[in-house]
């Protein structure tokens, strides 16, 4: 097929246009891909995550636009294309003449036609090895960055591990409590079911809240306390020769005492908060000990309130004797006996609460300022032992917030290093006053001022001369 000089020049121009477009697009792709790869990295460093979306394809628009811009900017004219083509075909200027509209002799026209048969071989070729590597590398980098999965929620593994460890600790603790027996079957099954439920949630990926673990821990502690109390009762050595302790106070006793007071119509003698507490315990069959047993502190408070009411004379003994049966009286007496400090005629005397009751070895705080009646559960450990400044390692597996990792706690005196304000003219500056008056006085007057203030200068031989000079 015969190729005319004009068609050859047009093909050359078109090829260079495409080449410039591809090169410009590749350059833009390189830049955009690098930016697009750095943005997710920056977001990831900042703690976020950019998920790939279809909208990211819009980045191709500026790349193509840059390619068009480069192609238009680097577009070669027909004269330039003819010049390049003439040199590539070895036409020695004949193509230039033809492109400028010169009519060639048939002999020269034939020469041009023959040479133009080699046109495909001399058209510009895109330098793919020079154009593509870096943009492709940038695109691969971008693809790699975009395919990075989103980060796990911060601290999740640590949180989960800590919860699992704490749950395992609680399970072990529960096992040790249950091994001693004395735990009601219903409570035992309930606790075991609760532990299994929490473990199942953890296995399903739903990490339980610390609140649930704390509640479980408290219930286990309560069962352990109740177990210890029951063990004491089973040993058959209740308070022989020693003062009753709060461990002997059971919910059943308090409920029975409350029922006795209710039967005697003396509940109004109790303080309002104690009354409200008892009303909350009231069920269809009287007072429910289980409702009170959940909170040993509340039980203790009720018992104290009853003892206090009796100690202050709100209970009429005659009324009690008339209204209560001997069993009810025994129950009420058992509760009141659990707080002998509130009873008249006891060791502490009427109206005087016992403080720091207990054996000296068991109950620290003896002799300390009053902390109110009853047994204060005050554990003076390191402070009392003189180890306040020591590092206190946390127990292993302790449930801690996930945002920080404790390595230890230290109690120490604050470092106080006051610096003296020696700035010029400040209160701490030396010689401020002296400098002031010395600057205000003429040198010949200083000796007079010193004498007046008692800081007499050593007499010199020329004092008189100085006075005369004045």
């Amino acid at each position: 097929m015969e190729v005319t000089p004009a068609a050859a020049v047009l093909a050359f121009v078109r090829r260079t246009f495409v080449g410039a477009f591809v090169a410009g697009t590749a350059r833009a792709v390189l830049a955009i891909a690098l930016v697009a790869a750095s943005v997710p990295i920056a977001v990831r460093i900042a703690g976020g995550h950019l998920a790939p979306t279809v909208w990211w394809l819009l980045a191709a628009v500026p790349a193509l636009g840059h390619g068009v811009w480069c192609a238009r900017r680097e577009r070669v004219s027909a004269a330039t294309a003819a010049l390049h083509l003439d040199r590539r075909l070895g036409l020695r200027g004949l193509l230039l003449c033809a492109n400028e509209g010169i009519e060639l002799d048939p002999a020269f026209r034939g020469e041009v036609r023959d040479r133009l048969l080699d046109l495909p071989a001399v058209l510009p070729r895109l330098q793919w090895k020079r154009i593509l590597p870096w943009p492709l590398a940038a695109l691969l980098l971008f693809a790699g960055v975009a395919s990075v999965p989103p980060p796990a929620p911060p601290g999740a593994p640590l949180h989960r591990t800590a919860v699992a460890a704490e749950l395992e600790r609680l399970a072990e603790k529960l096992r040790s409590v249950l091994e001693r027996g004395l735990v009601p079957e219903e409570q035992k099954q309930d606790l075991e079911r609760r532990v299994e439920e929490l473990k199942q949630r953890l296995a399903d990926g739903d990490v339980p809240d610390w609140r649930d673990l704390d509640q479980l821990d408290q219930r286990v502690d309560r069962e352990a306390l109740l177990q210890a109390a029951a063990a004491d009762r089973r040993d058959g050595d209740p308070a022989a020769g020693r003062a009753p302790t709060k461990s002997e106070l059971t919910p059943e006793k308090v409920a029975a005492a409350a029922a006795a007071l209710d039967a005697a119509g003396l509940l109004d003698a109790l303080p309002p908060d104690a009354r409200a507490m008892l009303e909350a315990m009231r069920g269809e069959k009287g007072f429910d000990p289980s409702a009170l047993g959940i909170d040993p502190a509340a039980m203790q408070k009720l018992a104290e309130a009853m003892a206090q009411a009796k100690a202050t004379g709100r209970f009429d003994p005659a009324q009690l004797d008339a209204a209560l049966s001997p069993e009810q009286l025994a129950d009420l007496q058992a509760v009141l006996d659990s707080h002998p400090g509130a009873l008249p005629g006891s060791a502490g005397g009427p109206g005087v609460a016992m403080e720091g009751e207990g054996s000296p070895g068991d109950l620290p705080g003896r002799g300390a300022p009053t902390r109110g009646p009853g047994h204060a559960a005050l554990q003076m450990t390191e402070d009392a032992a003189g180890g306040a400044a020591d590092v206190l390692p946390l127990p292993p597996g302790a449930a801690t917030p996930s945002e920080w990792v404790p390595v230890g706690a230290r109690v120490a005196e604050p470092v106080v290093d006051p610096a003296r304000n020696d700035a010029r003219g400040s209160a701490g500056a030396e010689g401020t006053g002296g400098a002031s008056w010395q600057l205000q006085l003429a040198p010949r007057h200083r000796a007079v001022v010193r004498r007046f203030f008692g800081d007499a200068a050593p007499p010199t031989g020329n004092e008189r001369t100085g006075k005369e000079r004045r």
Binding site: R92, C97, E103, D105
Partner: protein, 338 residues
């Protein structure tokens, strides 16, 4: 639409040129490039300045050219005491029919081919008398202008040594020469050939190669050679780059050149390139033609700085630097394509 030379015209023009070329080569052995440049200069109707050591055949070449073209030939040996009137001619009192009057007696310049031998030995006054003759191809004496015969060529020679008592040509006069060609020496083979073929160095007799009509035909052929825009643009950029004031001039020009070439240099390159193209049998000028003639056409039109001359720089070296610095294709292709 402009019509280019036909192949027949190109062939005819090349054949005429080849006759002159063959005749010169028969006389001057081993100097084909020099002969080509001389033929190109003649076809371009430019004046030629030959510079070389004595005995290299400068005068013989010019004499041969004159004989081959069948034109009138005069030789003027320039000496310091040569006066302008000695070459231009002057009024002489003549008595004709009992009447005395001044008649203009033409000098040796009134010939088609004038050999100005050792032109740098003449005084500036005499040298300047050539200015009008070379440029205007006319001579003005006592207010009367006399046209020189056409064609008119000045073929001058000068000796680069024995400079005492010489007057270097001024720039204005150098600019009138189309080419300044340095005549190279010959090697031993050429000298052997001279020794064996020529007794006492006498060159063979040559006949007239071209008639006056053929010379005109040859000039017409040269005039029809087409100069493309791109090639003309390259020649113009080369000349423009000789000026050190231009920002795009090469470093060699900025360091060595004091004054660049004039537009007359670009004209000379264009005309010489046309003749070169015809000598190569082409109807149009190519970049190679410009490259071939640019050194003899540009070198003598560039004024070098004294420091550069002392440093060993040469005008031809500067022109070579120009060729290396100024690309033939002003606008390159995008970097992405090859």
């Amino acid at each position: 639409m402009t019509t280019m030379m036909t192949a027949a015209e190109v062939s005819r023009g090349r054949e005429l040129l080849a006759r002159v070329q063959r005749g010169c080569n028969a006389v001057l052995l081993g100097q084909t490039e020099l002969v080509d440049l001389c033929v190109i200069a003649l076809c371009a109707r430019g004046h030629l300045l030959l510079e070389g050591l004595p005995g290299l055949g400068k005068t013989e070449l010019v004499k041969t050219l004159g004989r081959l073209l069948g034109l009138s030939f005069r030789r003027v040996q320039f000496t310091p005491d040569l006066l302008p009137g000695d070459i231009t001619g002057g009024p002489i009192l003549q008595e004709r029919g009992g009447e005395r009057r001044f008649e203009f007696q033409p000098g040796p310049l009134f010939a088609n081919v004038v050999l100005a031998d050792e032109i740098n030995r003449a005084s500036p006054k005499t040298q300047s008398a050539l200015l009008e003759a070379m440029q205007e191809r006319s001579v003005t004496v006592l207010g009367e202008t006399h046209s020189l015969p056409a064609p008119f060529f000045v073929l001058a020679t000068q000796n680069p040594i024995e400079l005492e008592g010489t007057y270097p040509l001024p720039e204005a006069q150098l600019d009138r020469f189309l080419f300044k060609v340095e005549v190279p020496g010959v090697d031993a083979d050429v000298m052997t050939q001279i020794l064996t073929t020529r007794r006492r160095g006498r060159p063979p007799e040559v006949d007239v190669a071209l008639t006056a009509a053929e010379v005109e035909e040859m000039f017409a052929c040269v005039d029809r050679v087409y100069l493309p825009q791109a090639v003309a643009n390259w020649a113009a950029r080369l000349v423009a780059a000789t000026h050190p004031q231009r920002a795009d001039s090469p470093a060699e020009v900025k360091q060595s050149v004091r004054y660049g070439a004039s537009p007359r240099a670009a004209i000379a390159i264009g005309e010489a390139a046309r003749a070169s193209a015809l000598l190569q049998g082409r109807p149009n000028v190519d970049f190679a033609d410009v490259e071939r003639v640019v050194i003899p056409a540009l070198a003598h039109r560039i004024v070098l700085q004294h420091t550069a001359v002392v440093g060993g720089a040469s005008a031809s070296g500067v022109v070579r630097a120009l060729l290396a610095h100024v690309p033939a294709v002003a606008n390159g292709l995008p970097a992405a394509v090859r």
